[in-house]
Amino acid sequence: MKEYLQVANQPMMWLMVLPAIIVVLAQVFFIAKRAFATAEEVEMTKEESRKAFRIGFVSGIGPALSVFIVMVAMIAVLGGPITWLRTVIIGAASTELTAATFGAEAMGVEFGSPEYGITEYANSILAMVLNGSGWLIICGLFTDKLGVIQDKIAGGNTALYGIIGSAAITAAFSFLLSDHLRAGGGSALTAVISGLTMVVIMRICKKYPKLEELSLGIAMVIGMAVSAIVFPQ
């Protein structure tokens, strides 16, 4: 194993990553607590609150698979602890690997080459962390101001809030979907099959509401399975 990877995978490195992971969980804990406590003000039952949290938890399982394989690839070059850090804190694999590469280049060596040692590795980590800080700091400072701007646009009109929200989310999913449609082949087929399955599930759910919570998972698995059969490697 390369020298820097021995350092990267040391038990102490796991410990050094832990504080950031704890902050993520603590933030969610405190915000969720506020949300549970405020639910009654908007005529939301305890059961509905718990259901909302549970649906988020369950619906996240399918999409989490997308993180899985790239993480294994990242571990090979960055070690376990830093991969853990950069996956749990904002950052996609592509972003992190780009930053790691630039960090190495700034030291005048190629990422992962024999010259890539501990100091170069440290510079890769700093490039990742400093880049990630951009989102954390901007959101930390300005999120509440975005709320003020949105209030001004909608002017307390609930119908408008609804339109702004649903238009924005439709646009976001269109944006995210577009590249997969353009890629054609298995990607486009998966998107179409999963989409159609979702429409069918939503129909069926009118009779069997229990199914709704699993809708995303079911639609995903069917689309992925069909494509894996039609387009084997």
Partner: protein, 224 residues
């Protein structure tokens, strides 16, 4: 009466969440540097400041526009609490947005209401817990699991993202889907615009389109 609910809601939710959000983002930023400090002290791995700035600068040249574009573009969906959680934990398009949208659709909340904000917040919170568990499992047993899975299952994993986005688009399409998807495809295929311009352009023009349609419908209703 309406005013009172708004005030209580602010007092009980929005104001405390902003405080939690600010503090947690600040502490998280610092916490991310802990491994670097450890490497510097324990192994003397201290890159020269010039190299640190160069590595950061090269990376920021690619990603800095997104520091601003993404929070602004996704805010109308995520809300205040959702934005703090999503931009700390990441995986916004593939996990936070779908989980919030599924929960809001299953619980049939009216879009744009405070209730829908709380449902979205709780769903995002739940999805972050899933992320942390999944990320932790992947780190510890990921390679082992990849070795035991058959090739056909691994092949299916290639299609996780189109499966998420295809499903979510289907839920959201009926209202503005045709307009938004056509616009994105036109912008991506026929213009040289960079991604950081296309995302906000799509989001805000779809919002404008939605508001325009709404006003048109309302004025028609008024004429009758």
């Amino acid at each position: 009466m309406e005013k009172n609910i708004d005030q209580t809601y602010n007092q009980k939710f929005t104001i405390p969440v902003i405080r939690i959000g600010r503090i947690s983002m600040f502490i998280a930023t610092l916490a991310c540097f802990v491994p670097s400090i450890y490497l510097a002290i324990r192994y003397g791995a201290r890159p020269p400041i010039g190299a640190i700035l160069a590595g950061w600068g090269l990376t920021a040249a690619v990603y800095a526009p997104f520091y601003f574009i993404e929070p602004i573009s996704y805010f109308p969906v995520l809300g205040i609490a959702g934005t703090y959680m999503s931009f700390l934990a990441g995986e916004i398009g593939n996990m936070r947005l779908p989980c919030a949208a599924v929960a809001q659709s299953v619980l049939k909340v009216e879009e744009g209401t405070k209730k829908s904000e709380l449902v979205g917040t709780l769903a995002i919170a739940g999805s972050v817990v899933t992320s942390v568990i999944a990320g932790t499992l992947s780190v510890f047993v990921g390679s082992f699991i990849l070795n035991v899975l058959p090739a056909s299952v691994l092949r299916a994993f290639d299609f996780v993202l189109p499966a998420v986005f295809g499903s979510m688009f289907a839920i959201k399409a009926p209202k503005f889907g045709v307009y938004a998807l056509a616009l994105v495809l036109i912008l991506k295929i026929f213009t040289p615009l960079p991604v950081f311009a296309i995302l906000p352009l799509t989001v805000f023009s779809t919002i404008a389109f939605g508001i325009f349609e709404h006003k048109k419908k309302n004025s028609k209703g008024a004429e009758k």
